[in-house]
Symmetry: C2
Subunit: 394 residues, 2 copies
């Protein structure tokens, strides 16, 4: 009884060392975080991003579109990504002098190539479906570490949208506190997890707020002729003045008014939205820095308004993460909008703002192996709490 006792042995540990892997929709590469989890507290030991080679990135992007995704390539790159993920873990361990065999568990989100949370009819039932690639059998075999992967399908089987998954990790990492907390991720999209004071799993509120860096990045690219990909540290925004008329026009976007649960992406705030704003700003004769300042304020205001509209209370603490938390101008604007909240970042809890997502999948795997339900039905829409993830014995 090697495995069952293996799983039991891992599950019964007070301190578990877990490698969490995340590969996002931008298909840039795979984030790997190694954490020690003790008494529901995570201590980040190592983190790195392993960018995909350009050719691999192009191939994966082709797999994300039903028009160009071929069955043989889906299968091939499922196994290729398994190898890439395994190598990333091994590399990070070597670099950080963490013995590979000191890691108890891997938690891998995989690379989403298809996600249909609304579902499609089959007879009288609606069938939701999703597909993450990066074969976990390969990860388990190459690393020799028991691997948990493929979290979304179970929540969808339970009637949920299979997303978002991170709020559970936010709850484990930052919940059950005497203060109410918002974990404010500012990636391309800004999304929040609100944890009331002494909160239980049922009390979690989480939704997509609107654009995070997406519009700021888009405008910066347009202004710089694609030379600058983002406004580093918010320096350009700091030099400009917010144009209130343009800002107010942007704030009328219907997504911002919609009640949660809600989610958004490139469809609504991608390059065509940035183009539209840039054109309007030029018509108003705004300087480049003013445009950047205005879209930065747009993100800050969207967040503050969503808090007052859709959260039960303004949180006592706001814990920032994601690349946007390095944009000082944005953070300063947010501080002005929400003066009563204590503002900090996941850095202050020992988890770098970039590593937070990968750490979340270590937490999710930790829960799977412990047998703890790790979806949040109030957030995903699932009928009841379930244990997400498939366990691949080492």
């Amino acid at each position: 009884m090697i495995v069952s006792s293996g799983i039991r042995k891992i599950a019964s540990k007070d301190k578990m060392r877990i490698a969490g892997l995340m590969s996002g929709t931008s298909v840039d590469g795979v984030d790997v975080a190694v954490v020690d989890i003790t008494k529901q507290k995570a201590n980040l030991l190592a983190f790195d991003v392993f960018p995909y080679p350009n050719a691999l990135r192009s191939e994966i992007l082709r797999l994300c579109r039903p028009e160009t995704a071929l069955l043989d390539n889906i299968c091939h790159y499922n196994f290729v990504l398994g190898e890439v993920f395994a190598k990333a873990i091994i590399k990070l361990c070597n670099k950080s002098r963490i013995p590979l065999d000191s890691i108890d568990l891997v938690g891998s989100h995989g690379q989403t190539i298809y996600h249909n949370p609304r579902g499609k009819r089959y007879g009288k039932t609606t069938i939701r479906s999703t597909l993450q690639i990066g074969e976990p059998s390969v990860i388990a075999h190459r690393t020799g570490i028991t691997t948990v992967a493929d979290f979304r399908p179970r929540d969808m089987a339970a009637g949920g949208e299979g997303a978002p998954l991170v709020p559970y990790a936010d709850y484990i990492l930052f919940g059950r506190n005497r203060s109410s907390r918002a974990i404010q991720n500012i990636g391309g999209i800004a999304n929040v997890t609100f944890l009331p004071r002494f909160c239980k799993q049922d009390d979690i509120v989480a939704f997509d707020i609107g654009p995070g860096n997406m519009v700021i990045d888009g405008i910066t690219r347009l202004i710089s002729g694609n030379i600058r990909r983002f406004d580093s540290g918010g320096k350009m925004a700091a030099q400009g003045t917010v144009n209130k008329r343009l800002l107010n026009e942007m704030l009328r976007h219907p997504f911002l008014k919609r009640r949660p649960p809600k989610s958004t992406g490139r469809e609504e705030f991608g390059i065509s939205f940035a183009n539209k704003i840039y054109k309007q700003a030029e018509e108003k004769g705004l300087a480049d820095t003013d445009i950047v300042a205005t879209v930065t304020a747009f993100t800050a205001k969207s967040i503050a308004r969503a808090y007052s509209k859709f959260l039960p209370t303004i949180p006592d603490e706001i814990i920032l993460c994601g690349g946007g938390s390095r944009n000082n101008t944005l953070v300063e604007m947010l501080r002005c909008e929400l003066p009563d909240a204590k503002m900090c970042s996941t850095d202050d809890f020992g988890i770098s703002v970039d590593a937070k997502e990968a750490v979340s999948f270590a937490i999710l795997a930790w829960a799977t192996i412990k047998g703890l339900t790790n979806n949040v039905p109030g957030v995903t829409g699932a009928d009841w709490p379930v244990v997400m993830g498939k366990i691949i014995p080492a």
Copy 2:
């Protein structure tokens, strides 16, 4: 610690009740067997085949061809088949008055839509890949039963071909005996698992012999103008006379001479082979019954020759399974070819010849949850023994 203790609880049971599911390359439907496994002996409680509706079958067949397989449909039907599999288990239990909650575990092979054991280059490495659909998260969720699925990827990660998987189950069910045994499956293809006396897992020999029923069925269809799909009970063959010249020509087929490990399928012994034989037989002026008798003898002779060429010894016992074991003429011919072997069928061990494949996946899941390595490296070509399967907690 609900799950880990759940898995431990299942794994520690002396008697485990398992539902095994198999859906073969013919895409006819799903076989479900419920077995009690005690001390490595299986007792079949219930079995049934649940045919796919025609429309579903057509859709799945479209998924099996890279030219017609669309990403959104792959994902959709992965979840659809999960629902179909779960319903089949529930129906069988209701019909057989087996309480669903008395079942400890589900073992599901899934429906193969892609399998590339030779692999494809990625950089300097050869990447093998495979894909079985029938989402096990859906099975686990709908039935409330911990599910083991997706066996092939791990053997392929270990350098194996991910096939065949059944020899391990043959070993558990019929091995460790004072007699040497051949488990002779006669499906479309005839394949054998040879278990020497007191055999260990390393001693297992298994390979595809050549055609089982495939050529007999093909000829019967041609003769009857597609009215008869197979020679029921071998009645047509019994009325004919074997044509030795045609038989000897067929026995020159190069696949029969190749040394194991080897596997074959419709490519070599499908409808175009049957057409060729039918034409040759007509040229020789053979009566319809003589043609059927001759191709039946072809299967019997192929098996007997493979035994004397490729098995360490002629087995003491031959245990038949698969549809061909109901072809009395074929079985009689085999008896004449191998007079020294005791001939019986899995029926004599309480496992109906049709249920054997589904039972095998119950055995494989049993091993996964027990933590026992359940591939046979000598047969799949894997570098070492591994525990195949992904565990989805109930």
